[in-house]
Symmetry: C2
Subunit: 465 residues, 2 copies
């Protein structure tokens, strides 16, 4: 016992799983234009965001199927991982389902969601590269909380632009980010040109993740020691999140089972990719098929109603342009509680997977998701975040459609975060005050037209596709 | 995989550890008096509270060293247990300590603390006995939340009297109790005679746990289908909590280590007893000594400054009278954030342990405890509840006193709950707004006098001691 480090849990993965090795076709280039009509520059998404080489390379690496997790990150993972994978026996009984329902629970860490898995990794790589300050935009607040904590641990400064509509719903998350030393700004803010422009247009603008991202990018560009950190969508982020699926594959194996379906909610794809990608690897190795279901918010149905076109991640137009499933970066989803599902597009990797039929998608409204979340709480003793409640609802749909006779359906659902800071919303659900919210059709049709027109205008060079 | 129940984790204990087998001298009788001067009745504490026989017997059972956990309770434990036991490597490095620091973390379940361990057990026993409605008083709110959830799971109604000073600090905990279907009342309330009396005396009365307990007892006495459920102090409650220590003993063994000290904060003794008692058993079996440290709040120093005399658990005078370390049931501790440590007395079992030298005690002020809690958060990624932060502070004191040369001190500290709903308090700490709060000397001296006078008056019959 004289060593300075504890023995790690044997179930804690030591490597991330890199799907780009098995499917190099998912490496997509991106186009950078400082503004529309400017000079196009083609490269990996990460390189265009001035990420350290270590990180940018992870988004385009097709050589290595397994990427070792750095020791410093692994030691921090060991503080909250492995996370539980359990069978939802009481829920099964309640549903009377012909199914074995398993769930993976990512909400028990300090910051409350899976976001910490990539926040620690990114803070590690940026700090090793000499960056002193990370800036980001956050929707539901989970990503901001995770990055704030990771920056504190690694000794970096942190600035967060937080979508106004959710910031005002969750004062406690703001307390948490500030407690970890982060500067937190409501977005739109007066700190950046894009924010000021939005406020001028509408002082009551409730904000979008695209807008907050735009503000963060603008601030990060102001000095050389700052960088923009991205919470989802990017290949490297999905890679870091595969620690979830790597664990889940071995935990399922230890229980002697393998899922027919792996289910997760879909923001831009990081928790979805995190749990599902290693199962694609396991399925390839074992020859046993697995199906993947992405559950999105009916208020922001980027897969089921979006276009697979070139688009931006932010409203300003500074992010690299990639081919993604998108509702258009000007779409403003109604202010549903699942702030993490309000991003207008899926990331390039999950978009490519949807395009080639590797994943199925379903849109769930928030009333249905709160109902599912509350039932999960009553039966399994975990209150899912509103985002994760969508995954639970999608899973329940799937299970209810499965024939009562014959072999049971085996499903694994990812509970990406807890809902303890969303109790007010659950309370309003219990009081019958939550309504089913679907897409804002006016904003959607306008935004989709703009997206299509944008694609005609940019005439993306063939070599960039 | 055709069975309806998942295989349980092999580290999940199947039995509670009953210290009364090894130390029958800790079985103490209690005296019931409906009011002072009324007829004395001597029996076990549980029997006097009209507990089901199953439960009341657990407080006086000296025959069985191990008590099997009922299947229904075990299935619910399996939803959040085993809880993590980890080594705090980064904290060790930060402190430069000659110590191996381990912690057990009870905060990752839905209700956020160890209280769920006994809430589920009690709701099980009461529901089996035909009781329909449980009533209780809660200080910090953790016990109320846990009981509300357990009642929902078992199909019981639940009513909670919550000490006003903490209810107002933690609106989210109230949301949670109500979400689980409980009726929540601020105490003092207008619902009971004891509440009305307190409000008449002072409409701004901030409340105490003794007062809330008195109100709960009064309401529970109003009909035959209702019972008062007790969150700490009682032998049966400590028994249920030994699931923590049972797990910790095997987890430490799996790591090849054994603690010199086991440390927990002290409210009335349930988290303290829960983690420590099984180590007394393990120490007896192995011949290897273990020391126990109880950390109390300097605002409510029942062990370090109390008297070992006969006293009540409530302000009304309806609870059974037992010999306990107490500051007197009329003592009003200043409103510190660690509401769970504001109870005026330790339970009979931990009091007897302190009296015979089986445990050591230390009082910590809240400023010191917030500092320790914040450091634990920064190094280990867990934000302890203000109560648990006292245990961390006590542990750090112990470790700092240990000589830098020679064998390292091995300590195990119980983090009984998370502090995510206490972020406002941590924020005020970070802003320098938290002060070191010690006992209210005027109230203390008055209350101790009253306690001593009460003991002279009641002239407890010798056979009850």
């Amino acid at each position: 016992m004289g060593d300075s480090r504890v023995p790690r849990d044997p179930q804690l993965p030591t490597h991330w799983f890199n799907i780009l090795h098995d499917r190099p076709q998912y490496v997509t280039s991106a186009v950078s234009r400082s503004r529309l009509g400017g000079e196009a520059k083609t490269a990996g998404h990460g390189a265009l965001l001035q990420q350290p080489l270590s990180l940018a390379r992870q988004s385009i690496n097709t050589a290595d199927r397994l990427i070792p997790i750095p020791d410093e990150v692994l030691d921090l993972y060991a503080q909250y991982r492995p996370t539980p994978l359990r069978r939802a026996v009481r829920l099964e009984e309640h549903l009377g389902a012909n199914a074995r329902i398993y769930y993976k629970y990512e909400g028990a860490n300090l910051t409350g969601s899976h976001k910490l898995n990539t926040a620690l990794a990114q803070a590690h790589y940026y700090s090793r590269a000499g960056v002193k300050h990370l800036v980001t935009g956050t929707g539901a607040g989970q990503w901001g909380t995770a990055l704030a904590y990771a920056c504190q641990v690694m000794g970096l400064r942190c600035t967060i632009f937080w979508v106004r509509s959710t910031l005002r719903q969750k004062p406690i998350r703001g307390e948490m980010m500030r407690l970890f030393g982060a500067a937190v700004h409501e977005s739109p803010s007066n700190l950046t040109e894009v924010g000021r422009r939005a406020l001028k247009k509408d002082p009551e603008d409730i904000g979008t993740l695209a807008g907050a991202t735009g503000e963060a990018l603008a601030l990060a560009a102001e000095d050389s020691e700052s960088r923009f950190a991205v919470g989802s969508g990017e290949n490297s982020v999905l890679l870091h999140q595969t620690v979830i699926g790597q664990e889940a594959v071995s935990q399922m194996a230890a229980l002697g089972d393998f899922p027919d379906y792996v289910i997760a909610c879909m923001g831009a794809g990081s928790n979805f990719g995190g749990i599902t990608l290693p199962f694609l690897g396991a399925a390839k190795d074992s020859g046993r098929p697995v199906r993947l279901l992405a559950v999105e918010s009916a208020a922001c149905p980027k897969l089921t109603r979006g276009r697979y076109l070139y688009d931006l991640s932010d409203a300003l137009g500074t992010t690299p342009i990639t081919k993604i499933y998108s509702l258009g970066s000007t779409y403003v989803p109604p202010p549903v509680y699942a702030g993490g599902l309000r991003h207008h597009s899926a990331g390039p990797l999950t978009s490519a997977m949807y395009a080639d039929g590797s994943l199925e998608a379903m849109a769930i409204d928030q009333l249905t998701s709160f109902r599912a979340g509350m039932l999960f709480c009553e039966t399994e003793g975990i209150l899912p975040a509103p985002e994760a409640a969508h995954a639970v609802a999608g899973m329940m749909d799937l299970v209810s459609l499965h024939p009562r006779q014959g072999p049971p359906l085996v499903v694994l659902v990812n509970i990406s975060g807890h809902g303890l800071l969303d109790l007010g919303a659950y309370r309003r659900f219990a009081d019958g005050e939550i309504e089913a919210v679907t897409a804002d059709e006016a904003s959607l049709s306008q935004s989709l037209s703009a997206l299509e027109e944008f694609n005609q205008r940019i005439a993306v060079p063939a070599e960039a596709t």
